[in-house]
């Protein structure tokens, strides 16, 4: 009862993201900025990692996104939603990184085993049995690779809708596209993912004896 009351009171007096950003913009308010970072660092980190398929670089880009938010604080327009602005900044950084990689032919799909292991380490759930954990890791790796093989325009929509649970209207605002385009991209993304994943993830028998190299090969299209 008291807990609920406390939560209601906290919600009543909570500062909105837009108000916090306004404080950062006007007064360089560190508390407000820390509030925004605390609230958004998880989602932004997830977005960057899923867009790049690389945990370390994804984390770097998440940090870079907040640094960019701070650097561009004077350009923030208070009439827009902070979340939309932040997603756009993070996505643009991801696009830049992907373009840079393409230029240098550093496609994450061909990342080394140590990098992949580093990525998978973070997915390990301590409460699950080691065998099952390994299966989960392998399935996650399949999904990661399938997602990376999607064109960026589909990947961005899919990550924002499926993983970050944004409405199509919100995604349209982030990407600056008509809602219909976002929906058709999402449909196409899901269709491609179903084609990429259907025979692989479902057919993957549980057990640690499977090696991930074989799965990697099966996914390269």
């Amino acid at each position: 009862m008291m807990g609920k009351l406390k939560e209601s009171l906290a919600a009543l007096f909570a500062v909105s993201d837009e108000q916090a950003m306004r404080r950062v913009q006007m007064h360089d308010d560190e508390r407000a900025f820390a509030h925004l970072v605390k609230k958004w660092q998880g989602p932004v980190r997830r977005l960057c990692i899923r867009m790049l398929g690389d945990e370390h670089r994804g984390e770097d880009l998440a940090q870079e996104s907040f640094a960019r938010v701070f650097a561009q604080r004077k350009h923030y327009r208070p009439d827009g939603k902070f979340g939309t602005w932040l997603w756009r900044i993070a996505l643009n950084l991801c696009y830049d990184e992907l373009r840079r990689r393409q230029r240098w032919k550093q496609v994450s799909l061909d990342s080394t085993d140590s990098e992949t292991l580093g990525l998978l380490e973070s997915f390990a759930e301590p409460q699950i049995a080691p065998d099952q954990a390994l299966v989960n890791q392998e399935r996650a790796e399949l999904v990661r690779r399938a997602l990376l093989s999607l064109p960026e325009i589909y990947r961005a929509v899919l990550v924002l809708r499926h993983y970050e649970n944004l409405k199509f209207r919100e995604i349209a605002a982030v990407l600056g596209l008509p809602e219909g385009t976002v929906k058709s991209r999402m449909a196409e993304a899901l269709t491609q993912m179903s084609q990429l994943l259907k025979p692989k993830v479902a057919a993957e028998p549980p057990g640690p004896q499977k090696n991930s190299n074989r799965m990697k090969e099966s996914l390269i299209v």
Binding site: E30, K198, A202
Partner: protein
Amino acid sequence: MNHPTSEQLISYFYDEAGPTERAELKTHLQTCQQCARNLNAWRSARTDLNAWKMMPKRAGSAAPLPVLRWALAGAAMLLCFGLGGFAFSWNSRALPAALQARLRTQMRAEALQVAQAETERARDSMAAACEKRTREFVMAFAKESYAQQRKEIRALYAALDKIDSQRAADYVALKKELDTLAVNADAELRSAENGLIELATFTQTPAVSPQE
């Protein structure tokens, strides 16, 4: 009902279709195997996508550190640059260490930028003031020089006038003296002429010898 568009179907799939559209699509899906198959494929993909779970960031890499040192360093730097107008209130909360480092660099760059702009502004205003002062000084100097020059020229003209007057006076005096001299000479000549005439007259009288 014709086959729904992929946009309608995806709206239904993610529960974003309106009630009427939803009801129509539901009815359609009960009879249309093709659309149902598409939807099932999406459902399967959606389930598969959930296999990629994302654990929260490991605590070790995100240990929050106090920002006080950062704030002090920044404040000291700003004081050094004398940026009075730059509000700096980063003093109480914690941010992830990596982000702190980035922001610290960024703040430093911003402070440097502001300081540079401030320096340039001060330099420009000082240069403008110097130029103004120089122009004023040159103008005053030129004015004074011109006045002095005019004064000197006027004095020169006055001196020349005086010399001219003196010369005219000297000429008149000289002429007077010459006239006097001429008159005197004329008188002297007349006197000499008369003497000579008298002398000649005296010579023409015959002299008487005492023996005769």
